[in-house]
Symmetry: C2
Subunit: 506 residues, 2 copies
């Protein structure tokens, strides 16, 4: 094999892997969106087989020989090729350690668990989901043991979702957050609550869908390549490459803000994915680099941009146009205050910026303890409810509004949640940096996302997975991660909104 042949084979390998990924992700997407309700076992059958086929492709002797051949010639490769080989070899090493039968059984399990979770959530029936969740945690522990026996299993998964993350970094980060958020929230609660009455009422789903498509175009998504569907739990998926992206939302007809901000949130994910450099398509470098950076983009659009005063000034007339009766007598400033009402609640995805990290901390605590064997899965609902009482001061009425609310665990994504909180915190530093060269407020006030997206494309999006998350972030932010940028942002924003003296935070 010559180097040129190996280079071509490297691209072909990734194209094949992308096709399998397309197939499997689409089977998932279909199941979450339009598939008839009784078809989960059929999907599980196909996914188990396709994941086996993809496993053989990724770990086969021919693939390993190719990657090792290229790995030995690293100096002759360009930076992209080097990173491809590095990521592919990492994947091979991981897959080689997991027995094939366990790997495909796990693929089957997560389809079935997703189906059971959906029904269990609808019926608020944790007992129905518990045996699946037990198997999912068991798989997470066992797979971590196979892949990194020297590591704590939870540390292994934290690092999988966000390279460089472990419990020590999480503990430190969450301690900083708590030290700022808890007293700030206490001050907020002493004040008169902001009214969100204008967001409550009747907002027909069809009108919300019109708004959703308008928002998608407004923030800069290419609707020829980004689709919208409705699901129980909003998410974003790339199908095959960044040329086909889907976001989903859920319309609550009695509450406008939910779909509105979920569309902007998922839209942020989709902007990140679809703005990978086009020649990264069908390679492992295509799309977002990590869950943390991904969440930094989605939460950046949702909160730092979408819940800002200048954006609300632009958004309000659009809402007036689509919902003239519901908006009558209200103002943009009222909208700004309504979408920033900070109130401890039960549901993570509905949480405001201030209380959101507390929801993550609950999940982090619970995952950490179950993974360490300090807590059994059967004890999760009780502990969930206890921590919501302790951290957020709310009583969980049933498991549908408690431990069953999130889709993640049903998909085996244990160790994912902390990346949401890190992502949220990354955004504050990125915004600070962006403001040095972009008049962000003026752009938002004009509904002109072009200069914002240009900055993000230049510094983050186009690179795909070329750099490690921390390196990418530091290149864009111009400094190391510093959670106080985020806590300062919260203190300033909510201090102003609730009329709290800044000194009280010192």
């Amino acid at each position: 094999m010559t180097l040129e042949e190996a280079r071509a084979a490297l691209m072909k390998l990734q194209q094949r892997q992308s096709a399998y990924r397309h197939a499997m992700d689409l089977i998932w997407y279909d199941g979450d969106t339009v598939a008839p309700k009784g078809t989960a076992a059929n999907r599980a059958q196909s996914l188990a087989i396709l994941s086996e086929e993809a496993y053989h492709l990724s770990t086969g002797a021919e693939t390993v020989a190719l990657l090792e051949f290229l790995d030995e010639r690293k100096p002759e490769l360009n930076p992209r090729e080097r990173r491809m080989v590095e990521l592919l070899l990492k994947d091979v090493r991981r897959l080689q350690k997991i027995p094939l039968d366990e790997y495909s059984a796990h693929e089957r399990l997560i389809v079935e668990a997703g189906d059971v979770w959906e029904r269990a959530k609808a019926a608020s029936d944790f007992a129905a989901f518990q045996p699946y969740l037990e198997r999912l945690f068991a798989d997470a522990k066992r797979f971590a043991g196979y892949c990194a026996p020297e590591k704590d299993p939870y540390d292994y998964w934290l690092n999988e979702f966000e390279e460089g993350l472990d419990r020590a970094r999480c503990d430190e980060f969450f301690a900083t957050l708590r030290a700022h958020v808890v007293p700030l929230l206490a001050k907020v609660q002493e004040k008169e609550q902001l009214s969100n009455a204008m967001l409550l009422g009747h907002f027909p789903a069809a009108d919300q869908e019109r708004l959703a498509r308008r928002l998608m175009a407004l923030i800069g998504l290419d609707l020829e390549h980004v689709g919208l569907a409705t699901t129980e739990h909003p998410f974003t998926a790339s199908l095959g490459s960044h040329f086909d992206e889907r976001i989903t939302t859920h319309y609550y007809e009695d509450y406008l803000a939910s779909s509105l901000y979920s569309v902007i949130h998922e839209g942020g994910h989709a902007l990140y994915d679809t703005n990978s450099a086009d020649d990264l398509a069908y390679t492992v470098l295509d799309g977002g680099v990590s869950m943390g950076v991904h969440e930094s983009q989605s939460r950046f659009f949702e909160n730092l941009l979408g819940r800002s005063r200048p954006f609300c000034e632009y958004l309000f007339p659009i809402l007036e146009e689509i919902f003239p009766e519901q908006m009558a007598g209200h103002t943009a400033e009222e909208l700004y205050r309504a979408v920033n009402r900070a109130e401890p609640g039960l549901i993570r995805t509905e949480a405001d910026e201030l209380t959101y990290p507390l929801h993550i901390m609950v999940r982090y605590e619970l995952e950490k303890r179950v993974m360490a064997g300090e807590l059994s899965v059967s004890e999760l609902p009780g502990e969930w409810n206890r921590l919501y009482r302790e951290y957020l001061g709310v009583e969980v009425p049933d498991d549908a509004h408690g431990v069953l609310q999130d889709i993640h665990w049903s998909g085996g994504d244990i160790g994912y949640f902390p990346s949401y909180a890190f992502g949220g915190a990354y955004g504050a530093q990125l915004l600070r940096r962006m403001r040095e060269t972009v008049d962000v407020d003026a752009a938002l006030r004009a509904g002109n996302f072009a200069p914002i997206n240009r900055w993000l494309r230049e510094h983050l999006w186009r690179h795909g997975c070329l750099y490690k998350p921390a390196e990418l972030f530091e290149r864009a932010a111009g400094e190391k991660f510093d959670p106080t940028a985020f806590t300062t942002y919260l203190e300033e924003k909510f201090g102003e909104l609730y009329g709290i003296e800044q000194e009280t935070f010192l």
Copy 2:
């Protein structure tokens, strides 16, 4: 390899093939239903690769050795296994003859052609579609040459869609049909036309969708396993196995009958597929055996049952319930007459039972001549229009209502259309046979499809692909194919509807 090991490997092979089929069919389904408009090239990329992977699986040395091993031990296999080996080997022999690069280029072509066709139809722009159609016909001829060099290429494809079919049988069948249908239609046109005014008006898509789901349940579909979506052109797809079936429809808000009967038509396909014996799932024997038998079921439900007087008696009160204003002052008998209005028109899928075969004959003539090199693709629009004038007496205003109306050619399905006409004709014999033991009219009048479906399940559906189409049909009908059963049915039905003396047909 022991025989038992080979048997297990045979099942595993088919499961793997089913998973690839699931993936590819779902990518198609997604493209036709919800995918963003700009994503066809991305699907083409994945389909080309997945079809290559499936090709390697189906033609690989290991597979061929397995099938030949089993083929040599036929006497020791059960009938199902024998048929599996026969069908799989036939597929291998065919695939081995098509060069892989041409095979996967064709897969890519049909995705792109489907996309171009949709846009060309919308713009009534045949010139945009012509180069693709030329390549599709060229592929059809070349592939037929590879697979059966001794055969006429069009005969090859006719036989692929319906085992046993060739031009001679088609010519004879269509001559019989013409001899009966043309004079009958002439008599009908001398009479006063039946009114379909009650089907025209405003029928909101959302209400039609409610009706569609009700009809699906009514005819016996299991909605836990059969989904409904909207597309430009209605179709039915099995995804992975008969446990996940999808039908699609298109709502015209100004015309009720279109979606109503397309749902019953596609519902017939779905009933056939989903009633394969469950232990045929994930084998090549799962689902309908041929296009002809498939169309016999869809057209059976659409026309022989769905457009019958007793079914209209049951259906009318449902329409009254969903469309009270539009149905006010009308009767079930008027509905029966409205849905059986026989009138030469432009659009095949909107055609009545009587003129439908004429639409097929146009397509058959044209395919036959293009495949024989007697007609160029560029001449198709002109010849299409000329034949519509000759056979149906209508003027084609533009290609969207002419040569561009059907999806089939864009998918490379050349030789498919005749199976519609044969399927329609099969149904009349099946109904005659069914009436010997089932009181079909009483069942329809009561909206009770159970005894009808029980008969079809017993005699047709459960067998999947176990028997060849002709054998399956003859077992069910209790006699050989006889097109006069169909022409007699038409003469009796339309004779009565239009008050034509029966003797005039002698």
